[in-house]
Amino acid sequence: MTLRRSTAVLAAAAALALTACGGGGEEPAASPGEGTIVVGITADPTQMLPWTVTSKQAIQVLSQVYSTLLDTGESSEPVAGLADLPEVSDDGLTYTFTLSEGVTFTDGSTLDSEDVKYTFDTIMDPDSKASSASYFGSVKSVEAPDPRTVVVTLEHPDASFPSGLTGVNTGIVPSDADPATLEKTPLGSGPYAWEKRTPNQSITLARNDSYFKGTPGAAHLEFRVIPDEQSMVSALRTGSVNLTVFDNPVTAKTAGTGSVTSTPVDSLSYHVLQLRAASPVLSDVNSRLAIQCAVSRQDVVDSAALGAGEVTGPVTSPEYRSDPAAQPCPEQDLDRAREYLAKAGTPDGFTLKLMTSQGLYSTAVDEAQAIQAQLGKVGIDVQLESLDSGDYVDRWLAGDFEAAIALNGGSSDPNTMYARYFTSDGSFNTVAGYSSKSLDTLFAQGIATTDTDERAEVYSEISAELVDNAVWVWLFTPKLFVVHTSSMSGLEARTDGSYSELWKASLG
C-alpha cells in the first residue's frame, strides 16, 4: 500500500517546526525546580476515567496525568504527541501511527501499541459509557502489528478523526489496569503522577521524572478546591493559590492587579442565539433573518461580557474560521429587520420565547436581556425563560424551545463542531432544528478529503448556508483569563485556558 502524508499533516508539521515548541520535542523545562504549584479549581472533578471526562476540572487534572496520541499546537491543530502525526493511505481509510520510543507509564511499565489498542477498543465499547465514543464513529478496527505501530482502519474517510485523538478523553491507559482501580488511582504517562486525593478538597500529583517530553517544572502539583470565585481571588492575592482560569471577566478584572497577572486567551467555544427553524414561530426564514438584522453582536459582547470577546461566525476552528462579517446583516440594521418582518407577514413583530439558564455560565442571563432589548426595537416581543441548569439541559437536549442562549464547545475541526448539529442524522439535529440536503452533502464532502484548502472551501460554503438562512445567530467567542501569581514562571497560556503546557512552568 502506498502511503502519503496529507497536506494537513505537512502544514501542521511546518507550523511545528516554525514555532519549535509544540509537543514531541525533547527540550527540558527552563528550570526544573522544587516546590508545589497550587492550581485553584472551583469544583471537585467528578469523573476520573479519562474516557468519561466532560467536566472542566476533570480535564484539567487528568491532562496532567495522561498523555494522548496526538497533542495540539498553538492554533489548536493536531501535532505529534505520544505518536508522530499519522501516515494516511491514499484512500483516506488507513491511519498508521508510530509511537515515540521508550515511553513509560508512571509505574515504570512500557507504553506500547497494545495499550493504545486497548484504550481505543474500550472507548468504542458501549459498556464503558465513553463520552469520547463519538470520535470513533467512523473507526472499523484498531490493530497493533508491532509494539510501536498502531494502525486504525476507518469505514469511510474522516478527516476529522485525528483531532479527536488530542483530547484527554482519549488519553492512553495501561492495558493491564482494571478500570475500577484507575477510577480511584489514575495511572498514565503524563508530566505528573497521581499521588493522593482528599474528596472535595484537593488532588496532589508528583513530578514524573521520566516524562517523555522533558522534565516537568515543579516537584508537585496540587489542585485545590475553592468553590467561591471571590474566595479564589483572595487566595491568589495571598499567594496560597498560584494559578487558575476564570471565565467571568468581572472576577478576572478584580484579580489581575499587583502581584497577580491575568492573561486573556482565546476560546474555540462560541456564544450563540440558537433559533429552532423547526418551531412554528421561526419556520419562515424571513422571521429568522429579521432577528439576525435586529441583533447587534458587538453590543452583546460589550454589555454582557464587558467587551471580553470577539464577534464570530459559525466556524471558530483557527484553520477554517468563518468571516464574521460574511452574513446578510453583519451589523445591526433595524430597517432591514423591519423589511424581513414585513416579508414574513408579521410587520409589527411577533412573540418569541427565549430560554436561558442562571446556573450554567456567568454571562447567560445578561446576553438574553441584551437580545430582548434589541429585538424589542423592531416589535419582536421576547419572553425570557430563565431556567435552572438541569431544566435547561433537559429541554435543550429534547429540542423543547423556540430560541435559546447557549455557550457551545468548539473544536479545532469544523466537522467535529457542527456535523452533530446540522446533518440530518446528527445526534444534536433535533436541538439544532434545521437540516437540508445540501448541508448533508457538504458535510460528507468536508471529511472525504484531508486537503486543508479543499476542506476550507467546503466549510465556508456550509458557513454561508447557515448564516444566509439565519439558522442560528452566532454572537461571539469569549475570552478566558489565565490568572497566576508572579512567583510562577515559564507558563504558556493556551487557547481555551488549556493546561497542556503547564508542565513547563515552575515556581520562582
Binding site: 471537585d44 467536566s55 463520552s131 474566595s231 435552572d388 452533530r420
Partner: protein, 325 residues
C-alpha cells in the same frame, strides 16, 4: 415513684416515636423532591454531552446510577440500606456516604460550636446591657447594632471581610487548603475565625433580643422584688436571680440556632472552603447524587431531632421546676 417512672417512660417512647415519624417524613420528602426536579445524574455529569450517548450507553448509565428502578423500589432499597447502616455510595468520589459524612460532620460541628460561642458572647451581654436601662441610649444602641447584624446578608459580609483582609493584610488562611483541628490546630482555628465570626454575628441578634425580653420579664416578677427587699446585693441579684431564670428561652433559642447551623452553614462553608456537611449536600444536589443527598439530609434531620432532645434535657438542668414536672 413507680408512677413517675412510668410517665417518664411513656414520654420517652412517645418522643422516640415522633422522632421516627419525622425522619421518615423528611426522607420521603427529600426522595420525591429530588426526583421531581428536572435533570438526573446523567445530565448532571455529562451535561449536553449526554445527547451524544447511545441508548445502550444511557441504559447502562441508568443502571449504574441505580435510577432504572421504579421509585418505590429505589426508596425501599435505599431505606433498607440505611436501616442496616449502609448510607449508599457517592459514585463521583467512589466513597461511601458514611465515610464522607464522617469526614464532613466534625468540621460542621466545630464551626457550629464556635459560631454559637461567638453568638452567645455577643448576644447575652448585649441583651443584659440593653435590659439594664430600657429605653435609654444603651438600649437603643444595642437594638440598632443587632438590627444591622440581622439585616446584612452573611454572604456579603463574609466576602467583604475576606477580600478586605486578603488585600490589606495579605491574610487569608482559607486559601491554604483545609486542615482539621487534629491535623493542624493553629491553622484550623485561623480558618474557622472568619466563618465563625460571620455566623456568630448573625446569631447574636436573636440571642440578644431574647435575652433582653426575658430579663425584662423576669425582673418584673414578685420574687425579684422580694429578693431585693431582703437585701440581696445587685450583682448577685442580676446573675443568680434574674439571669438564671431568664436563661430558659435563651437556651431554647440557642438550641434552635445550633440545629440550623448543624444542617450545614452552607453559605459560609462554600465561601470559606470548609468541607462540611452543607457543602456535601450542595455537591450532591449539583451532581444529582440521590443517595448522597438523601442520606446526608437524613443525618442532618437526625441531628436536629437529637439537639432538640438535648435542649429539653438542658432545661431540666437550668430550671428545677421543669425537673419536677
Amino acid at each position: 415513684m413507680g408512677r413517675l417512672r412510668a410517665v417518664l417512660g411513656h414520654t420517652a417512647v412517645r418522643r422516640l416515636g415522633e422522632a421516627l415519624v419525622t425522619l421518615v417524613g423528611v426522607s420521603l420528602l427529600t426522595f420525591v423532591v429530588l426526583r421531581v426536579v428536572p435533570g438526573d445524574q446523567i445530565t448532571a455529569s455529562y451535561g449536553i454531552a449526554a445527547g451524544e450517548l447511545s441508548p445502550e450507553q444511557i441504559a447502562s448509565l441508568r443502571e449504574y446510577y441505580g435510577i432504572d428502578q421504579p421509585w418505590p423500589v429505589q426508596y425501599l432499597g435505599w431505606l433498607g440500606g440505611v436501616v442496616t447502616g449502609n448510607l449508599g455510595v457517592s459514585t463521583t468520589s467512589g466513597l461511601s456516604v458514611a465515610a464522607l459524612t464522617a469526614q464532613a460532620l466534625p468540621n460542621t460541628v466545630e464551626l457550629a460550636v464556635l459560631a454559637i460561642l461567638v453568638g452567645l458572647a455577643l448576644g447575652v451581654p448585649g441583651g443584659m446591657l440593653a435590659a439594664s436601662r430600657p429605653g435609654a441610649a444603651r438600649d437603643g444602641g444595642t437594638q440598632v447594632a443587632s438590627l444591622l447584624s440581622l439585616s446584612v446578608p452573611s454572604f456579603l459580609l463574609a466576602t467583604a471581610v475576606a477580600t478586605f483582609l486578603a488585600n490589606q493584610l495579605g491574610w487569608y488562611p482559607n486559601g491554604e487548603g483545609y486542615r482539621t483541628l487534629a491535623e493542624d490546630p493553629w491553622l484550623n482555628l485561623q480558618q474557622m475565625v472568619l466563618p465563625a465570626a460571620v455566623l456568630g454575628i448573625s446569631i447574636a441578634s436573636p440571642v440578644l433580643q431574647t435575652t433582653r425580653t426575658a430579663i425584662l420579664g423576669v425582673r418584673a416578677e414578685d420574687f425579684v422584688r422580694t429578693a431585693q427587699a431582703k437585701g440581696v446585693p445587685p450583682g448577685r441579684l442580676q446573675v443568680r436571680h434574674v439571669l438564671r431564670n431568664a436563661l430558659i428561652p435563651v437556651v431554647t433559642m440557642t438550641g434552635l440556632q445550633f440545629g440550623f447551623l448543624l444542617s450545614g452553614a452552607l453559605v459560609a462553608e462554600q465561601i470559606f472552603a470548609i468541607p462540611g456537611i452543607g457543602r456535601q449536600t450542595l455537591l450532591g444536589l449539583q451532581q444529582k447524587e440521590y443517595a448522597v443527598v438523601q442520606s446526608t439530609v437524613l443525618v442532618i434531620a437526625a441531628m436536629f431531632v437529637l439537639v432538640n432532645l438535648l435542649t429539653d434535657v438542658l432545661y431540666r438542668v437550668v430550671d428545677p421546676r421543669v425537673r419536677l414536672r
